[in-house]
């Protein structure tokens, strides 16, 4: 079901243990996310993703279940600690797929980002399920030439 989320999947020709290393080890992370990474791989542990061009983005590790599940919350603005209202949650799920791995990433929380206090108060309490699909339909409607 669609929510305020981005969901992507890929099949990798390497076992979950190997994919886990690429996802969670600083030297590998920098190969796919940012230019340098610091990570304290335990729940509550700090993460710093650094982009030479944009600065450092801070995050917090949420769940570490090798080699099946890894999640963290990261602040969208550079230089700020990750908190409710400035961060999104990234969740990786690894499942065996033949000799390889099916890797799924889900990023959620866009609806609570960077809005004013009053807007956020409204948004966070409310059910956000299912809206992105509707949103796409609505856009389709809205862009139709007037009848």
């Amino acid at each position: 079901m669609a929510t305020d989320r981005i969901e992507r999947e890929i099949v990798i020709g390497a076992p979950p243990q190997r994919v886990w290393q690429v996802l969670t080890e600083a030297e590998h992370i920098s190969g796919w996310f940012g230019d340098a990474t610091e990570i304290d791989l335990r729940p509550g542990g700090a993460i710093v993703f650094t982009w030479n061009k944009y600065g450092s983005h801070h995050g917090v590790v949420e769940r570490v279940e090798p080699p099946r599940f890894f999640s963290y919350r990261w602040a969208r603005p550079a230089g700020e600690p990750a908190a409710e209202g400035n961060s999104t949650l990234v969740e990786f799920t690894l499942s065996p797929d033949g000799a390889g791995t099916r890797l799924r990433v889900v990023e959620t929380g866009f609806a609570s980002l960077a809005v004013t206090e009053e807007e956020r108060g409204v948004a966070v309490k409310e059910n956000i399920e299912g809206w992105i699909a509707e949103f796409g339909e609505l856009r389709g409607y809205a862009e139709r030439p007037a009848a």
Partner: protein, 108 residues
């Protein structure tokens, strides 16, 4: 009316997080511009609630109001919808790129 800076996509997302507001937008795009009174007649919510929701939608840049006599007629603005859809598509593309990089590293 006070000029506002272009709203963040997140403001649009937050505004659309509520089912009643999505319903209101839908009503406005399918049936055209309407007043709060008209909208309240079509939806199972009070006029006051409609007014509050329209204010949130307006703040996110999703509707604009035009005063007509004693009432305000609201209509949908499509550009924030398009901007937000493009923004989400961009983020999804970023993840495709990152996943491809993860694959490349893991398989090497």
């Amino acid at each position: 009316m006070r000029l506002r800076p272009a709203p963040e996509p997140a403001g649009v997302l937050a505004a659309m997080a509520d089912p009643t507001r999505r319903r209101l937008l839908e009503e406005l795009v399918t049936a055209g511009a309407a007043t709060a009174t008209t909208l309240a007649g079509r939806l199972p919510v009070t006029r006051q609630a409609v007014v509050k929701h329209l204010a949130v939608l307006s703040q996110a840049g999703l509707v604009t109001g035009q005063r007509q006599g004693r009432e305000v007629r609201y209509e949908v603005r499509t550009s924030p919808l398009a901007t937000t859809a493009d923004w989400l598509t961009g983020l999804a593309t970023e993840w495709d790129r990152r996943l491809a990089a993860i694959k490349r590293i893991a398989e090497s």
